[in-house]
């Protein structure tokens, strides 16, 4: 019985002898592994990037919305004020739950504010001071809404809204007036652009924020759309939902609420993107299959070209298993070499994609393990049949071969 080192040494020599063919066979594997690595890495990068958006805000953020009947969609029914969370409930929340470190109820409406008689299509949010804190908003100019602003007609513009105004020739928007529902709002601050995604309401960048009490003036009731809150690290998260349920039922017995936490969303996203990664990986696997068939072809050619060699080795005492191992190792080495080149190319492609799209670049350990594992597995799988064929050659006939 021949030792494993010996087989590997022999295999390397054979590969070197058939350089051109070896190279051609590698291309299939290189492309296959390369695309799998690139796809898997991109999948993981996208996931990490979107997770990062959550983490930047903090993973201890929750949002509370009115449940909408049996549907899983939150948000309440804006047309039915009796089915919305009210300001009273929101205000009482902080007192009842001291471990909610910051509570930011807000209202949201879409309107056509006017600036210099031109209509601006933008959302208007009624907010409190804590809204800026929870969403980690930073100001480019001026100040944010304060809780002392009461019913004043002040507005803070998101970065996108400020750009819109600038296009209409506002210049520095500070101190300018934007009309909304017939009332003039004095712009007291402009926000720096906020990262999108995560738990952050999408209305921030394109919208205008006004004091929450002022926003109630335009509604029949003092109802709010959503409450954002930050929970203290030592808060019991499992019982939070049921305690919140109880709290809101005190006010409206038939009320159901929806609580979403950053953690929960991250987990859901992770699950989704794992699926996505798997799917992409599966597509890449098809090219691997093609590559594997190419390797099988090359190995079959190698076996038929080296019948004489097989016969000689058998005459000198090689067992069938020695011959099989020899060709199997050759096939695995071939695929591994292709796999390593493919990994390098795939990581390179992922790097370029990350730079272009602004994703966080990293080398996926799972991708690398997958690449090495899959290419060896392909070597074994597609090498087995040719190797078996080689081992079963009749030594007498093989020796007679020219």
């Amino acid at each position: 019985m021949i030792s494993f080192n010996e087989i590997v040494r022999e295999a390397l020599k054979s590969q070197a002898a058939a350089k051109q063919r070896t190279l051609l066979a590698l291309i299939g594997i290189v492309i296959g592994i390369g695309s799998v690595i690139a796809l898997v890495t991109v999948g993981e990068m996208v996931q990490l990037t979107s997770e990062q958006q959550f983490r930047q805000m903090g993973t201890n953020i929750i949002t509370i919305q009115r449940g909408w009947g049996d549907s899983k969609e939150g948000g309440g029914n804006p047309d039915r004020p009796d089915q919305m969370i009210t300001w009273t409930e929101a205000k009482g929340l902080a007192k009842k739950f001291p471990k909610l470190e910051a509570v930011a109820p807000y209202t949201s409406s879409w309107g056509q504010p006017l600036f210099a008689d031109k209509s601006l299509d933008m959302p208007v949010l009624g907010v409190t001071r804590s809204f800026a804190d929870l969403n980690k908003l930073t100001l480019a100019k001026g100040r944010f809404i304060s809780d002392l602003d009461g019913y004043s007609f002040f507005g803070v513009l998101g970065a996108g809204a400020a750009a819109k105004l600038a296009k209409l020739g506002a210049g520095d928007p500070l101190g300018k007036t934007v009309f909304f529902k017939g009332r003039g709002f004095k712009i007291i601050g402009v926000l720096a652009r906020a990262e999108e995604g995560g738990m952050r309401p999408f209305e921030i960048n394109p919208g205008m924020m006004i004091p929450i009490h002022t926003s109630f003036l335009f509604k029949k009731e003092r109802v709010i759309n959503e409450i954002m809150a930050r929970i203290a690290p030592n808060m019991d998260r499992r019982r939070l939902k049921s305690r919140l349920d109880q709290y809101f039922k005190m006010y409206q017995p038939d009320m159901s609420i929806q609580v979403r936490s950053a953690e929960q969303l991250i987990n859901e996203m992770a699950k989704q993107s794992r699926l996505f990664t798997l799917l992409l990986g599966a597509i890449g696997s098809i090219s691997l299959l093609v590559g594997g068939i190419g390797v099988m072809n090359v190995m079959l050619v190698a076996v038929s070209e080296r019948r004489k060699e097989i016969g000689v080795r058998r005459a000198l005492g090689a067992m069938q298993s020695d011959i099989r191992a020899q060709f199997l190792v050759e096939s695995v080495i071939l695929c591994l070499a292709g796999g390593l080149i493919g990994i390098a190319l795939g990581v390179g492609a992922a790097y370029v994609l990350a730079k272009v799209n602004g994703w966080i670049f990293f080398v996926s350990g799972m991708g690398l393990a997958l690449g090495v594992g899959v290419s060896s597995a392909i070597g074994v799988f597609f090498g087995y049949f040719p190797a078996r064929q080689a081992s079963r050659l009749n030594p007498i006939l093989a020796l007679r071969d020219e």
Binding site: S3, K13, E309, R314, M319, Q320
Partner: protein
């Protein structure tokens, strides 16, 4: 004790519905240390007999005793093992592996025997020296002449210190001067080292120099 004892060996090949009887009851005894030439026309069954003696093939009938052990019915692994341990093959076309250099070719039987590399190399170098190829060890077969290749092949056959050297037309591809040189190696190995040698040849000059000659014809073996 005889090294080889063949009793009524038959070999029949089946090709489709046809069956061809290549060996029709061969009796042969080869003592240890003998130098035997098997002569005869091509198609007479020489090669088949060689394959059976060399454990490349199994007989269809009859008895084969090798070193006093029944060797007629061995499975593929046992055949490979006994070839590796007991037989040294020499072929008309040398059959060296072209990618390996002379030294590596000579080491090959020891590779399959699991001999560690350093010891393998030592033995192989010694064998190459013995056949006068010490200065060509790093050459590959295509860089060697026919005679040189056959010397390397002899070294390879000897490297496993086999009980039996089986040479199939060892001088068939060489000119007469080189043929004689190669034959001299066989004669010397047999005389000095008492290596049992069975040689297939159709060259009467070769046959004449062997101490014992048998003739194969039509599946039967005749002493000459």
């Amino acid at each position: 004790m005889a090294l080889i004892e063949l009793r009524g060996i038959t070999k029949t090949y089946h090709i489709g519905d046809m069956s061809v009887e290549v060996l029709r009851g061969v009796d042969l005894t080869v003592e240890s240390g003998e130098l035997l030439a098997i002569m005869g026309e091509s198609g007479g069954g020489k090669s088949t007999l060689m394959n059976i003696i060399g454990f490349l093939d199994s007989p269809s009938g009859g008895g084969y005793q090798f070193e006093g052990q029944d060797a007629g019915h061995l499975d593929d692994n046992e055949l490979a093992h006994i070839r590796n341990q007991k037989i040294g093959f020499i072929f008309q076309q040398f059959n060296l592996l072209p990618r390996l250099n002379a030294l590596e070719n000579v080491m090959l039987p020891l590779v399959y025997r699991g001999v560690p590399p350093r010891q393998r190399e030592k033995v192989a170098k010694q064998m190459l020296k013995q056949v006068g190829m010490a200065d060509r060890m790093a050459h590959r077969p295509p860089e060697l002449s026919g005679g040189q290749q056959q010397r390397v092949a002899i070294a390879r056959a000897l490297s496993g210190s086999p009980s039996l050297i089986l040479a199939d037309e060892p001088t068939g591809a060489l000119d007469s001067k080189v043929s004689q040189e190669i034959l001299d190696i066989f004669l010397e190995l047999n005389r000095e080292n008492k290596i049992t040698t069975v040689m297939v040849t159709h060259d009467p000059k070769v046959g004449k120099q062997c101490r014992r000659t048998v003739r194969m014809a039509d599946g039967h073996l005749l002493e000459v």
